[in-house]
Amino acid sequence: MSDSSTPAAAAHDAHGAHHTNYVKIWAILLGLLVVSVVGPMLGHPVLTMITAFGIAFVKAFLVIKYFMHLTVEKKYIGFLLLTMLAIMLVFVAGVAPDVMKHEGQRWTNNAAIDAVEKGLKEGGGHHGEHPAEAPRAEPH
């Protein structure tokens, strides 16, 4: 706690007598929150992606950098977290073709296609068929 290797102490060393203004960071985060709520209301898909999801990454970055002090933490902590993110991405990349696509060169996921069609027809209804309960996909 009191040794100079703690992030806060290191941050203090890095910035001299200046301390991080946490309230200012919080105010920026709130400003970004407002943008992420208002942006999607404009109804433009690209704007929604940027304001809702892009800003989420910015907010996460600010929390990681200024509240968790990761940038002044031991480097291997950053590598540890990045390794976990990479493992997660490997999982997503491996599963994505089966989940995101409903047909390929030699296969068709009829259950998923039916679920999408039925769901789009029903529109606002909230008791749509659970895709997992639909007939399983058959190759053709």
């Binding site: 706690m1 946490y22 709130l30 929150l33 992420s36 509240f67 968790m68 999408v116 909230h126 659970h130």
Partner: protein, 193 residues
């Protein structure tokens, strides 16, 4: 000295980081895979199932936004508690930790009202896969909030007496991570409609 042996996983350091804090970083690393797996699966399903938008439009954006504000503010309180602990001001650190706990409680109260309303409208865990993801992701997150509140209450009690102030930073790291998870849950569950 107390009648119980002092835990060693607090200030001992062979890695350049106190063992207690290193344990929290490891915990966060494992949580990345847990939440990443759930959120990654959800994103893939949302892309593959455009019809889920008709389900997502029933979530309450304002409740989600308010809870984001609450968690961001509680994160500020947690980092101010850490700052106070760095200055060896245990009472001040405890005070900020109690404000952080208050934020977590407000979050849970809003969530409980929100879920009650949704369940009354027929949106349950089994009514649609969207809601399965919704309750699973937000439920696991809510469980982390509850666990964080309990741990923080214990640490605040000790911090008030000036005991083990290094734990304030450790629980703060955990709380910031819980905040980050919500930062991503909010647009995914409440904005993407």
């Amino acid at each position: 000295m107390s009648s119980f042996p002092r835990p060693i996983a607090t200030t001992r350091s062979v890695t350049g980081i106190s063992t207690g804090k290193l344990a929290v970083w490891w915990l966060i690393a494992s949580e990345i895979v847990i939440f990443g797996g759930v959120l990654g699966s959800y994103v893939m399903h949302r892309i593959g199932h455009p019809e889920w938008a008709s389900q997502a439009e029933h979530t309450n954006t304002w409740a989600g936004a308010f809870n984001t504000f609450v968690l961001l503010t509680s994160s500020l309180m947690a980092v101010l508690a850490h700052q106070a602990a760095e200055h060896k001001d245990g009472k001040k650190a405890a005070k900020f930790l109690y404000f952080t706990i208050l934020g977590g409680l407000v979050f849970l109260v809003v969530k409980s009202f929100e879920w009650t309303n949704e369940i009354h409208h027929g949106f349950t865990l089994t009514s649609h896969t969207f809601w399965s993801f919704y309750y699973t992701a937000a439920g696991i997150h809510g469980l982390h909030v509850i666990i964080g509140l309990i741990i923080m209450a214990v640490i605040a009690q000790d911090a008030k007496k000036g005991i083990d102030l290094q734990r304030v930073e450790a629980v703060g790291l955990y709380w910031h991570f819980v905040d980050i998870v919500w930062i991503f849950l909010f647009p995914l569950l409440y904005i993407a409609k």
